[in-house]
Symmetry: C2
Subunit: 694 residues, 2 copies
């Protein structure tokens, strides 16, 4: 025994220093070991031929180039050399666009502006990180969306609404004097994937940020972001004139209110000359808004738009509104509210619409407002943070979900009128005001996103906002190659898990188009039996409508008629239970338990099978992941391994809770060969209750 | 200009890697450069002579020894060598005690148990880190307090009540499968300063942790802590029998309730065989407790004590109770409630009393319960997190405050009956059940505590809990030498700031014995005008009682008579305005604005001078700190520099708000040469309001 102890001493564990804690994200820049590719690259970077004048953003670009080349290739200097890397600006190009070309052994980066150069540098480094040959490269990149934006739901006290990766990155009490180095690291990560806009605070907005006390703090962030080509936006509280200005009203048609916002906007621009604009959640879930004064959303938005127009700022007005009507259908609320306002918004207003009509569920039909407001630019809002997608214990590669929405055909102007084309302006709306917004999944966790594999969602969001035509496969490949230095087979294993993960998650939580049956308030785990809440549309029963006959929400013309909000071609896809894609079935139909589906199984059988196979697929992820041991950094391996085990536990909870609960309606045994859950429904209810305790 | 850009490229900034981010705390182990001391040390560690059998804790001790020797001296192995470092256990010593001796060039570590060896290793490394010669060392260390404990006010959702350094370290959703390496780093930091007990959750306790679902998570932490000699405790919700057991009551005298707690306690011990016990906040600030059933605190505590006694566990019952009586004096509440219960508690109950009678103010007289419950072991509770002490933007070296309380003479058994002696048992109470508890200041911030200098408070708490006879100067010297690798003069500069910091903070916030005049709810900044709250004793007016005549709370026999709770000798110190220590003056007296004080100034003049000199002293800290530039790690330097600048801004806010507000009562100009604040009282009120917005 004593001999063993001596060996322990020989190990000399290195506390406080882990080889890789995930902090570096996809910007690892570990040295390239392959000699041939290394030699090729070294040939291009003998020097630099800079044909443009320095600006702060260009300086950033050159710094980033230096960091990347130093890490990947060990290059420590780039002397002036007309045969080296050429960098130039071409004013004929769109401002943020860029090109990378190789000719006669020389690389040229060209940008439409310094921002274009910044993106070119990251584009170049991305090629290097993936060890792609640059020979004959001739790449031209033009972003399809002009505002590629993160929305942070960060509160002033440092918490993050629906955030699961620690505390807010913004240290309000310490600002402006103490400047966390993470602010810069955050900005560069965004810039590397083309994100150029950030709203830093919760849409359930505090008025604090509009005060001088806080504007000096906000300015610090804006100054850092600017160097990375990122504009800062603020979520604003519509009642600010009352809260801060001590006015008696916040009525958007009141001259004093208008004057207050004008003065306040002017003040904001004194601190942040390139301030992006205001993001507003109004008359939604208790937030103040123009309707309190009998005014419309357009009245509210246009008043703010008028105040900010002189500075080229914009107003992002969220369409996420719904009133608590037990007889209604939340699916239709935003449409009914906003569709009639089409054409009434100022030209610097963009209406922000969630990808689906309910609320960031694991699968939703595209929001019916897309294509329905031809005279209004619409921003597409995704939720990167996994409120309904398993927090940070579940792998859920969201590119699949994003693409599904982006590629959905609205038929607004005939076949091919995808959501992507609606938002990028190519269907005819204002192309300068195109936007994709993602609710950020970042936090103070060392690896930024909690689940290591959730870094891929931040990455995918940025990449798709830049180019929605990229495939999920391409993005997964880029991300894994940049994140893990390992062999092709291991990369393939990881990509394969990513690509399957969304489908798996849907199976064990909300198969066949079930939705909104999660735990109350916390939104963790299953609670399909949730019957009472502050609002009827916050319960589960409102959505699944299970009874002795069947299950699902009838949204056809015999039901809520929500399906009729879509174009006929879309309706035709979904309006018959027999032909409706099974993934959307219970979104639109109340289907009898014994209905035979296209799979050959009855609805009840198919439901059970999906819940069970979802769990099995998580087990497969675990087995697959195990293959990565020894092939990737051990800390990262262990971390994901642990999370997959947690996901397995949670998948069993979802499966058992939902199958047992829905069984009380179907009154049928589980189809063979599925084995009955070991736990009772009562036990599942008790388990869920634990998570509701304070 | 272009040439400049090339130099930028030569710099190759290293993103994502900072030389020192504070994460390593005082356990840096950077190589010792001084050759003479290095040579001396190398002579002692040619090998190891281990005369004891391995245990998990001993294994930890040897690992830590390895880490330390590797870092400090580059030693990579310690072969078996009878002339090397001797390590042995002496069963005659107290379990946690240890000795370090040098004789004929050989070092011997002896411990009363494996825990003693662990502390001996850290004790030895501490000497090495401070570069003390070990020649003729003959150190014997016996901890004066048996439970040296941190209380975490961490909530289940990852927030920390009154925490300002990020999110909770415990990742409840990820446990038990994912095990953050920080759990171990946290445990070793504690062990290095002798902390051997940790209550992991908020005293406003969730019942969740007592469920099987969570006990498997808690077990992971307990298993890690155990290796570092740390026992895990849980804060429990007194209503758990109702909340979890579905009983109709939580009445401690109800047999079903008792049976429930017995069964639950048995279950807890099945997961954690060395579980420490329960910490309870009952009938306090809305928490449930025995008084709901007409039972006393002793009834409640003893019921739990009975359940846990078979396992050698203990119950820590908090005395922090006070009822909202506008005519009363919160100062007296806990005393009146608990003093009559002396002698009625089971022997495994310890009553936990905050250092002062109100609530962790920057200076309080010692709590009158100390010395007043001779038949009851009392735990002394400090608050390391800076709820009332400037969050993480103010330097406040708390050792000064701790010592002031520990050294206060209660006269309980005549002169010399200090608070320290009351709690360490040397005055005659149960010496096996002695405890000092500190409300933790740790969080997910990379440097653990937000303000780098606040690491010194965690350190000081541990060191004083081990040995309350250490001086604040010694502890400051240890901490700075271990934290900064720099010259003697710079160390002196930092120590000097630490040692002055408490006095400075008191001056610009609550001079002359003012207390509880901080911002509402948030407790940030000043709000002396706070008149209305949910409870009268949550306002500021309740405490400062300023009027046209004077200011202060008359607690003498003509007032609330709270002073009479102390022994006559203590009363004599404070009962006359003329002789009362000025630092406590307004704690006990309502003093007229024109009263001439021992300083030669009137009360109004002295008050103003203290506010102003507090701000000046912060400016001195800034000037002094500037001297550290280039002498310590630049990142650490910048971080503290920023926080000192924030502190200066806040000190001006406190000064202006308080002076202007109290001036509305004194109706006097500021004494010359003080210059009137530039801001008006209205402006200060508006500023404070901003921080009350959501």
């Amino acid at each position: 025994m004593k001999t063993k102890l001596f060996t322990i001493l020989l190990v000399f564990l290195s506390f406080f220093s882990k080889a890789d804690d995930g902090y570096r994200l996809w910007l690892k820049y570990d040295p390239i070991k392959e000699q041939s590719i290394r030699q090729e690259y070294l040939g291009y970077f003998k020097g630099i031929d800079l044909q443009t004048n320095p600006t702060p953003v260009l300086k950033t670009a050159l710094e980033e180039l230096g960091v990347g080349l130093n890490g990947l290739l060990g290059i420590t200097q780039l002397p002036k050399n007309t045969q080296g890397l050429h960098i130039k600006i071409d004013p004929n190009l769109a401002l943020e666009s860029y090109g990378i070309t190789e000719k006669s052994g020389q690389i040229t980066l060209v940008g439409g502006s310094d921002k274009g150069i910044l993106y070119a540098v990251f584009g170049l480094l991305r090629e290097l990180q993936q060890k792609h040959s640059l020979k004959n490269i001739a790449k031209t990149e033009i972003p399809k969306i002009s505002y590629r934006m993160l929305n942070h739901w960060d509160n002033m006290n440092g918490t993050i609404e629906r955030g699961y990766a620690g505390a807010s990155l913004w240290k309000w009490f310490e600002l402006p004097e103490t400047i966390d180095s993470r602010y810069t690291d955050y900005a560069r990560a965004n810039a590397s994937i083309g994100i150029n806009a950030v709203a830093i605070n919760n849409v359930n907005a505090s008025a604090r940020l509009l005060t001088k006390e806080y504007l000096v703090k906000v300015k610090v962030l804006a100054d850092i972001f600017r160097k990375y080509g990122i504009k800062l936006f603020l979520s604003v509280n519509f009642a600010s004139p009352k809260l801060l200005g001590k006015l008696k009203t916040s009525d958007p048609l009141d001259p004093q209110v208008q004057a207050w916002w004008k003065a306040k906007t002017k003040e904001v621009y004194e601190y942040i000359p390139d301030f992006g604009g205001f993001l507003v959640k109004a008359n939604s879930e208790g937030e103040p808004g123009p309707q309190e004064y009998g005014r419309s959303h357009a009245d509210g938005a246009n008043m703010l738009a008028g105040a900010i127009e002189p500075y080229q700022g914009i107003v992002i007005w969220r369409a996420f509104v719904y009133s608590p009507n037990p007889k209604g259908d939340r699916f239709k609320e935003a449409y009914n509210e906003f569709k009639p306002l089409d054409g009434t918004f100022n030209k610097n207003v963009i209406v922000q619409v969630k990808n689906g009509p309910i609320d960031f569920q694991s699968r939703e039909p595209f929001h019916p407002l897309f294509g329905a407001m031809p005279q209004t630019p619409l921003s597409l809002e995704f939720q990167i943070t996994q409120e309904y997608l398993g927090f940070t214990t579940n792998v859920f590669y969201q590119s699949i979900l994003y693409k599904e929405c982006l590629d959905s055909d609205t038929y607004a102007k005939g076949k091919g009128s995808t959501v992507a084309k609606v938002i990028d302006g190519s269907l005819g709306t204002n192309p300068k005001l195109s936007m994709m917004a993602g609710v950020a999944n970042t936090g103070s966790d060392r690896n930024w996103t909690g689940h290591l594999l959730s870094q891929a969602n931040w990455y995918a969001f940025g990449r798709l906002a830049w180019n929605h035509e990229l495939t999920s496969e391409t993005i997964a490949e880029e991300w894994t190659r940049m994140t893990f230095q390992t062999d092709a087979s291991t990369l393939q294993t990881i990509q394969s898990i990513l690509l399957k993960s969304r489908d798996t998650y849907v199976k064990f939580t909300t198969p066949l188009g079930l939705h909104h049956i999660m735990g109350h308030n916390l939104h963790f785990g299953p609670e399909p039996w949730l019957e009472k809440s502050a609002r009827p549309d916050w319960t589960s029963l409102y959505y699944h409508r299970a009874d002795s006959i069947g299950i699902g929400f009838n949204r056809t013309k015999t039901g809520s008629q929500a399906l009729e909000l879509y174009k006929p071609e879309v309706q035709n896809k979904w309006n018959k239970p027999k032909t409706c894609d099974l993934d959307y079935l219970l979104w639109f139909h109340h289907v009898s338990w014994n209905e035979k589906l296209s799979t050959g199984k009855t609805l009840w059988e198919e439901l059970c099978h999906r819940y069970y196979s979802g769990v099995k697929e998580v087990e497969t992820f675990q087995t697959e992941w195990q293959k990565c041991e020894g092939k990737i950094n051990q800390t990262l391996f262990e971390d994901v391994k642990g999370r997959l085990a947690a996901q397995h536990r949670e998948s069993l909870n979802w499966r058992d809770a939902c199958v047992l609960y829905f069984q009380t309606f179907s009154k049928q045994a589980l189809p063979s060969p599925l084995v009955k859950p070991k736990r009772s429904l009562e036990e599942m209810k008790e388990l869920v209750e634990i998570y509701q305790l304070k």
